[in-house]
Amino acid sequence: MKLSFLNLLHGCPMLCFALVTTLSSCTSGEKPLPILGERKVVNGDTVYHSIAPFRFTDQDSVSVTSETFQNKIYVADFFFTSCRTICPIMKTQMLRVYEKTKDMPDVLILSHTIDPRHDTVALLRNFASRLGVESKRWHFVTGAKDSIYKIAQTSYFASALEDKDEPGGFIHSGAFLLIDKKGRIRGKYDGTQEPDVDRLMHDIERLRTE
């Protein structure tokens, strides 16, 4: 009896599933995104660097905490409303990310002001409203200056600070950071460069399929 390939697939659903899985991994052909930052082995398990717990206030005067981002992928950056140099470019690029992720309920944006003395909640609200963005998807946050700078240096840019070869000025570097659902840093991008932001948007999709 001559057994055709189709007959074989029809008769064996498990083989069919395995084939589809293999083919799909061959077509994407991409490795998982790296996990950036320090890692430790505790009791045989690898513990990765993650963003420390935080509590800030957003443009709606609502408390935004680590729990807000639990089981969410988010993009974080640092800016200030009166910044005239790199921030307008970053804002344009972040708007692209916002548009691209509008149908992704598991993706949020978190922008921290580095000038909390001037960037009040009212000013952040005005800033967000001029951009026409939804506060449930893009949080502009303020808080104690010390808390903002501390989380920037010890959580978001910890790996950069350890690298003595990297130039200084991380907080105002224009970087976008991609954080996964477990609060781990999965990518760092130049928020002033369109191709780098294209890469970020592609990586968000990759991260969603993990």
Partner: protein, 157 residues
């Protein structure tokens, strides 16, 4: 000799024809120079914050024997104040920036204060405002560099 005279006259004529920079162009040029100075020193904000943390640690350790270390604690506190002021002055400068009348921040917003009313400003006043703004950012730059240097010196003692 005669051809040289003609050449000189022609060069003089060309010089007269060259378009002179308008007051607005001069003001915009000064504005750009101020922004370039700002960009140059803005990365130092990280250093200010890092050094502030180191100074706080030093102050806390010195306070374990506050009587013996009284003089040094006073110096450290003074350095802490100068770091914080430098950082604050930088942000104040940015927040109070004044545009050249007619220009905006890219979002269509004008940043001009009451003492820089567009309608009443003469060319001379517009340039003066920009020069004063540039002078303020130069002071902020010097303040930042000075506070960083003196703090490093104190920490390394």
């Amino acid at each position: 000799m005669r051809s040289k005279t003609w050449l000189l006259a022609f060069a003089f004529f060309l010089g007269m024809c060259r378009e002179k920079e308008s007051p607005r162009e001069q003001a915009l040029k000064i504005f750009d120079e101020s922004m370039a100075l700002h960009d140059e020193v803005m990365p130092l904000m990280d250093d200010l914050y890092t050094l502030e943390g180191k100074l706080k640690t030093l102050r806390d350790s010195l306070q374990l024997d506050s009587t013996v270390n009284a003089t040094r604690i006073a110096i450290v506190v003074e350095r802490l104040t100068s770091l914080r002021q430098a950082s604050q002055h930088m942000m104040d400068w940015m927040h109070n920036i004044q545009d050249v009348p007619g220009s905006n921040d890219g979002d269509g917003r004008h940043h001009q204060h009451e003492n820089h009313a567009v309608a009443n400003s003469t060319d001379e006043e517009i340039i003066k405002v920009q020069q004063a703004q540039k002078s303020r950012i130069e002071k902020v730059r010097d303040e930042m560099i000075e506070s960083i240097a003196s703090t490093k010196e104190e920490i390394n003692k």
